[in-house]
């Protein structure tokens, strides 16, 4: 009984919407880079703090505005409330990301503080904020998506895959850091950010593919 209810309740989302959201998020990232390069003429290597902050400033509003449209139980929760949830989720997610990075060995010195903060803000808007906007503080949903990684439906995939992609990408991005290549991008958090963004984009592509397959399968079944 309960399971049936859960199956019905997730708000429907078409593969076109998924496509739209992912394209917007990806474009926001790209625009962030473009603005950093061409308007402020900074880049990730020489000014990681500024660039990360700039990308975050462009990505975060896009993410929060888009994902709040797909909030769960829209009749109970207004658009503004969803945005407020996202805003609240941002510092929490940033804290969790920063702690995770520290546990994995990010430098803890004060001179890295600003970089860590801007990196974790960006990571939070890639991983935490969407889910916070959509599901709020519902523990079962969080548990399903993040602890068990058992997403159901396109919406879950849309939240789960890019977030996991970003985290796993960041994890792999950290590997070149200790090598003695003496390249400037080996510094914290440059290659980690590159990895995270690459993983995020890969996750979006995966989620899009799954959404297409899902709807395709449904249509086939319907026929």
């Amino acid at each position: 009984m309960k399971e049936e209810l859960e199956k019905i309740t997730p708000s429907k989302i078409s593969s076109f919407q998924v496509f739209l959201i992912h394209v917007c998020c990806g474009l926001a990232l790209a625009v962030g880079f473009w603005v950093a390069h061409n308007v402020y003429s900074i880049n990730l290597i020489f000014d990681p703090t500024g660039t990360l902050r700039l990308i975050w400033a462009i990505e975060f509003p896009v993410v929060i505005l888009l994902f709040s449209c797909f909030r769960q139980k829209p009749e109970k929760c207004s658009y503004l409330k969803a945005i407020a949830r996202g805003l609240l989720g941002l510092p929490v997610g940033a804290l969790i990301n920063a702690l995770g990075a520290l546990a994995l060995g990010a430098p803890a010195g004060l001179q890295y503080f600003e970089r860590t903060v801007s990196w974790s803000l960006l990571m939070s808007s890639l991983t935490f904020v969407p889910t916070a906007c959509v599901y709020g503080s519902c523990w079962t949903d969080w548990h399903r998506i993040f602890a068990c990684t058992k997403p159901k439906g396109s919406l879950d995939f849309m939240l789960c895959l890019p977030a996991h992609g970003a985290v796993i990408g960041a994890w792999f991005g950290a590997w070149p850091m200790p090598l003695d290549w003496e390249r400037p991008w080996q510094d914290w958090p440059i290659c980690v950010s590159y990895g995270a963004m690459a993983g995020y984009v890969a996750g979006m592509v995966g989620s899009l593919g799954l959404a297409l397959m899902h709807t395709g399968g449904k249509q086939l079944k319907a026929e």
Partner: protein
């Protein structure tokens, strides 16, 4: 397939281990050949023919230098051709830049950059050679080869890891002995090699590779001054070592835009020196030889270290010999420089020299002097041959005395190498004797002379080749056999583990209904552990990843902890949100406890990671231990005492938490308490002076502690299983509130519970004993990492004890293995031999004993991996066996196998896979730059890790036999 029985399992395991040891020793034997080197330095005895009753040095080394010099001159019969030597080393200058390649002139751009040198070469006043350098083509071994004529093996490095100074017989030492004044300007490597020989020196460091200008200006700034100094009367040796060219290469490669200006600069230096020599030649007597050499070449990209032609093609340029004009430069070996210089300057050839005289350098000598020089070189090589070939019959030594023309002809010189060398030598010696006798009748012909020299060169060349091949060649068969054996053993062990896994998996399937999580498919952690192994194997192929291996381990272990945290979160709401309500307090408490454990793991792991900044490249970054050391002992001491107290109290708490009134157990507790207090006393009172040998009190105290710890631990291990009256029902260790719920059927199995209690006590006895030893031996700064390590172990064990079936046993043990390696690096160890704490190895030893201090050094270095292996005993005892003991009538063997199978197998399998992989890497990389500095020490570490792993496994299986 028939299920494994306990006996079968242990027999196969032991076979695997024995195979592994066998293969490892084969491989090590083949890879690190021990080269017999002659000790001591050459003295006047090198001017006499080698004899059977060969005795060491005559006492002539005690002679004053001027007498020694005239003695040498008298004995050798060759007047020194030169009095002054200026050795200019241009680091990494390929001979191709100066001499061209394949009989073609050098590239136009390079030729134009060095006009003066090229004009000297064209006029014939300079003779240039391609001198082949032996790998590894890095500066220090090359300099050693140049001055001693020997090709070093790896064990030279391994045995002298704490002293860099060159102890072997070498040219500089010989020059010093006959009273030369030596001056060195340039690379500080020379100062490290020869710390006290130089009268004046100005060393520059090659640390700042980006600097290509200053590093050479610092050499040249003294040059004009030095050349005009008055005190270089007659005996003078100047070394100029220019590093700039090497730096240019490292930055931009061979075709760097900076290369031509740098060559121009070198040319200017040559011009300056040569014109100053010509001037002084006019007004003074001394004759000067200017040698321009490079230690090695460089690849197209400016790197060096390997054995390609570009890297080994180095330059040797003599200026000041009799004029020769060559169409193209011939090829010599770099080691040939040593004997040539020795005889040109009238000192004995260094003892372990493998080189051969350079022919053109002796052209200015008279015929008899040239032959005499060849004879001296031949004698020296013959001595070396005799040292390496004990089979070389002694009667061959005074060959020339017994030689009979009729008894042998050159056709005989084709047999085995040893005989051939001897035969060649005899032939040359005979020709020389006949030449000498003919000369006394004034009837020598040019033909005799040239045939004699040809015969000598033939002997020298083949002997030199044979000797150098012997030092660098590796017996391929032995290596292949060793590798195959290692591979077989790792296959045996891993297939054994796989069998066990499958068995357990089947059983799990049978009663999947009992288990919340059925064991179908791979779980995430198992994938993680398998990928850890793959990542580690991949990382070993990269030299910088081996240098910075600790980062890999830290990263993997903290990822593992994060996965544990995620696992906890997963299980938390398998109970759902209700777990937050009081009605299911037990389970939520357990979840909460596990979350606490994983946070404790994460935090203590992170702190111990930050404790020592290990490795090679980033050692200068700040870390906690540096910061504490700067803060000084008022901070270190309390911290150390606090950590020690905490460590001891954790251990004692665990021992006292067992509810038993047995006398035996009380004894154990009491004696650990006493020894803990003694250790604290030692830390508080003596540790500051522990290294001064006069401190009898401290040494005595330490000895008492050793004795108590040894006695208690052995006593516990041996006697406890028989003495302990533990078999009353409610003795399960650890605080009962946390202990996992037992099904009554297990509680009734008294022998099993008893066994587990015993294991628990024994495990804690191991842990406490090891901790106390470490507190005693490690540096004060390392006390806190030990505490952190203990905390991680305890937290991990408690976490796993409560995890039930969420995690599989082998995953947990593999996690512990990772923790052990991470802890190894957290205690300040690294993959270089330089971080071994030698000082600690003498604590509590009153008289010098290599064996005892070796054991202590081992205890210090392998503190963490051993710690983990010992604590596995404790881990076994706390592990819930609910899901393991399935058959109603399990016999003792089966239970033991359940308990001990994985803890023995998993470390063995991991270690054997890594060992085999690393052996392959070492074999593939044997010509790589870092094989000497990175891979080989790492290999020694891996070998040494193998030992305790195996020992531990043996101990486990011994227990299982009981």
């Amino acid at each position: 397939m028939a299920p494994l029985t306990c006996t079968k399992l242990s027999v196969i395991t032991i076979t695997g281990i024995v195979t592994q040891i066998f293969g490892l020793s084969l491989f090590v034997f083949g890879f690190f050949p021990v080269k017999p080197a002659l000790p001591g330095t050459s003295g006047s005895e090198s001017f006499f023919a080698p004899e059977c009753d060969f005795v060491g040095n005559l006492s002539d080394t005690t002679l004053p230098s001027d007498q020694l010099k005239s003695l040498y001159q008298e004995l050798s019969g060759i007047p020194p051709s030169f009095d002054r030597l200026i050795l200019m080393v241009a680091d990494a200058l390929p001979a191709e830049f100066v001499l061209g390649k394949n009989e073609k002139p050098p590239h136009k751009q390079f030729k134009e950059a060095m006009p003066y040198t090229q004009s000297l070469l064209a006029s014939g006043s300079a003779i240039g050679y391609h001198s082949r350098a032996a790998p590894p083509t890095v500066t220090m071994p090359r300099l050693k080869a140049m001055v001693s004529g020997a090709i070093g093996g790896f064990l030279d490095v391994a045995f002298n890891f704490n002293t860099q100074a060159m102890m072997d017989d070498n040219l500089l030492g010989q020059f010093f002995r006959i009273g030369w004044k030596m001056v060195m300007l340039g690379d500080e490597t020379w100062l490290k090699l020869f710390p006290r020989l130089f009268k004046r020196h100005d060393a520059v460091s090659s640390f700042y590779v980006k600097d290509t200008v200053q590093v050479d200006q610092n050499v040249s700034r003294h040059l004009a001054d030095e050349l005009s100094k008055d005190d270089w009367n007659l005996l003078y040796f100047q070394i100029l070592h220019y590093l700039g060219l090497d730096h240019v290469g490292h930055i931009g490669g061979r075709s760097s835009a900076l290369m031509a200006p740098k060559l121009k600069e070198m040319d200017e230096v040559v011009k300056l020196i040569h014109s100053s020599i010509n001037q002084s030649q006019g007004n003074r007597q001394g004759r000067t030889l200017l040698m321009i050499v490079s230690d090695h070449g460089m690849t197209e990209h400016g790197n060096h270290g390997g054995s390609t032609y570009e890297e080994t093609d180095s330059l040797a340029l003599f200026i000041g010999l009799r004029n020769h004009v060559f169409d193209y430069a011939s090829v010599i070996n770099q080691i040939d420089i040593a004997p040539t210089l020795a005889l040109l300057f009238g000192v004995p050839i260094p003892k372990n020299n493998v080189g051969v005289l350079i022919r053109e350098a002796f052209d200015s000598l008279k015929e008899d002097q040239h032959l005499r020089a060849l004879e001296l070189n031949a004698w020296q090589l013959l001595r070396l041959l005799h040292a390496q070939l004990s089979g070389l019959p002694c009667r061959n030594f005074p060959c020339d005395a017994f030689y009979d023309h009729q008894s042998s002809d050159s056709s005989e010189c084709n047999h085995m190498t040893e005989n051939m060398l001897c035969c060649l030598y005899m032939e040359a010696a005979a020709l020389y004797t006949s030449w000498k006798s003919k000369r006394s009748f004034e009837s020598t012909s040019n033909k005799d002379y040239s045939s004699t020299t040809a015969a000598y060169y033939k002997f020298l060349k083949s002997a030199s080749e044979w000797l150098s091949r012997r030092t660098t060649d590796k017996p391929v068969n032995l290596l292949a056999l060793g590798l195959t054996t290692l591979f077989i053993s790792s296959v045996i062990l891993s297939s054994l583990m796989f069998c066990r896994l499958r068995e357990i998996y089947h059983r799990g399937n049978q009663q999947a209904s009992n288990l919340k999580y059925s064991m179908n498919g791979w779980s995430f952690d198992e994938t993680f552990i398998v990928s850890v192994v793959l990542i580690l194997v991949t990382c070993m192929t990269s030299s910088s990843m081996v240098e910075e291996e600790h980062y890999t381990w830290y990263f993997l272990i903290s990822t593992f902890y994060l996965l544990l945290l995620r696992e906890t979160a997963q299980s938390l709401s398998s109970v759902g949100l209700q777990s937050f309500f009081p009605m299911q307090k037990g389970q939520s408490g357990e979840g909460f406890f596990r979350i606490c454990c994983s946070f404790l793991l994460l935090i203590s792991g992170r702190i111990s990671r930050g404790w020592h900044q290990g490795g090679v490249n980033w050692t200068s970054l700040p870390d906690i231990s540096k910061w504490l050391e700067q803060a000084g002992s008022p901070y270190v001491k309390p911290l150390q005492l606090m950590s020690a107290v905490l460590v001891i109290s954790i251990g004692l708490f665990a021992l006292f938490s067992i509810e038993s009134r047995g006398k035996c157990l009380q004894m154990v507790r009491l004696s650990f308490l006493i020894s803990g207090l003694l250790v604290l006393l030692h830390i508080a009172r003596y540790q500051d002076y522990a290294l001064s040998s006069t401190n009898y009190g401290g040494t005595f105290l330490v000895q008492i502690i050793y004795a108590i710890l040894g006695a208690v631990t052995t006593g516990t291990i041996v006697a406890l299983p028989w003495l302990i009256p533990l078999s009353t029902s409610k003795i399960f260790p650890a605080d009962n509130t946390f202990s996992p719920p037992f099904s009554p059927s297990i509680q009734e199995k008294f022998p099993l519970v008893e066994l587990r209690d015993t294991l628990y006590v024994v495990g804690w006895a191991y842990i406490l004993c090891w901790c106390l030893l470490q507190l005693l031996l490690q540096q004060p700064i390392n006390t806190t990492p030990i505490l952190l390590l203990l905390l991680q172990i305890v937290a991990g064990v408690h976490y796993f004890a409560r995890s039930g079936t969420h995690l599989k046993e082998w995953v947990e043990i593999a996690g512990f293995h990772c923790l052990g390696m991470a802890g190894h690096f957290a205690l300040g160890n690294s993959n270089t031999l330089a971080t071994i704490d030698v000082a600690g190895a003498f604590i509590g030893i009153s008289n010098h004993s290599t064996f005892l201090s070796g054991i202590l050094m081992f205890i210090i270095t392998y503190a963490s991996p051993m710690f983990i292996l010992l604590s596995l005993v404790m881990y076994i005892s706390t592990k819930s066996v609910v899901h393991l003991v399935i058959p109603e009538k399990a016999n003792a063997g089966d239970i033991l196998m359940m308990l001990l199978g994985f803890p023995c197998l998993v470390p063995l399998v991991l270690n054997s896979i890594l060992l085999t992989a690393y052996t392959v890497v070492l074999l593939l990389m044997q010509n790589h730059l870092f094989v000497w500095s990175v891979f080989s020490p790492k290999y020694l570490y891996v070998c040494a890790t193998t030992k305790p792993t195996e020992k531990e496994a043996a101990a486990h299986s011994c227990r299982s036999k009981r």
